[in-house]
Amino acid sequence: MTDATLTAIPAAVSDELESPSRRALRRLFQRKGAVAGLVVIATFALLALFAPLILPYDPIATSWSLVRKPPSALHWFGTDELGRDILSRVVYGARASLMAGAISVGIALGIGVPLGLLSGYRGGFIDALISRMTDAMLACPFLILAIALAAFLGPSLGNAMIAIGITTTPIFVRLTRGQVMSVKVEDYVEAARAMGNPRWRIALFHILPNIMPALLVQATLSIAAAIIAEAALSFLGLGQQPPAPSWGSMLNAAQRFLTNAPWMAIWPGLAIFLVVLSFNLVGDGLRDALDPRER
């Protein structure tokens, strides 16, 4: 027996004792793409949170002497067709976009997960009913359903969030249902039932924590999709209403001046690109980090 094998044992033991969430975090931070994504998201979130403290200009203050000026020392990102500072508008637009992403996915989780739990755990008629409803919703292309819902609710940022949230819900119902079906035959669920736990308790405290990783990954990726959907709805005029800034509506305004004032389109476009890419990178990183098969 050499020293090397003796010293190797404690390290292996401590690795066994590491809690699953801590291990997932450590593995997430080992991935450069995911870390870069987290940094970008954190930057945007902080900027959006403290926007009024950082920015020198009001995002909706117009000025006729500053119409469509190129980027300069005073206005770093230039100004738009009404003389508004684009940097301020991009940062305030981050508020709308990040909020839309988070809230719509929150709505989807809030409706989708309980329905999926019910459907997967109870089975039978309820399962058939819920599954057919999700099938029907998934039959419509995502954006077209969101546009139709936003149209019926009336154009506003809040309604756009609700529309995107409801359109994202069937994905979560289906994912939760599938996960529950595969988890509920495991031994620990059987053991919990043998100990006399009521059904709701098993579903909430034994099954739900075990399907959390899959939900977390899907939620992160859905935020990216929701931000694109919000930009698309705002672009069409169904989301954030003017003069409040949003990346989608900024792109819509910029489209008419693309050859004269390209900076009006470049900055909001770049912001959407960066945030969506970051959420996708973090989602992929989470998926790898939470995968129990590779240690």
Binding site: A139, C140, P141, F142, L143, I144, L145, I147, A148, A150, A151, F152, A232, F235, L236, G237, L238, Q255
Partner: protein
């Protein structure tokens, strides 16, 4: 030889993705048609939304859903044509 034997087997994932992508393209058309003002489905639904013409909105959603489902059905049938072993 490659065309006949390799392509048949390689075609299955292409068909799956193709059917799903066409759905994405249908919703993407809403934006492109708006930008270049092409008088198509997407323009129709957006104009209908702003004119509060809900019947047209419903019609467009129903039609795109039907197209989407039909495409998926065609993809399923194409699977069997490409790979007869899948016939259950």
């Amino acid at each position: 030889m490659i065309l006949k034997h390799a392509m048949r087997n390689a075609l299955t994932p292409v068909i799956t993705l193709g059917a799903l992508e066409l759905g994405t393209l249908l919703s993407g058309a809403v934006l492109t048609e708006q930008i270049f003002s092409i008088p198509g489905f997407g323009k129709l639904i957006v104009d209908a939304v702003f004119n509060r013409d809900y019947a047209v909105v419903q019609g467009v959603v129903l039609t795109t859903a039907t197209i989407y489902i039909t495409l998926n059905l065609v993809a399923d049938i194409a699977y069997i044509l490409v790979n007869p072993r899948l016939r259950a």
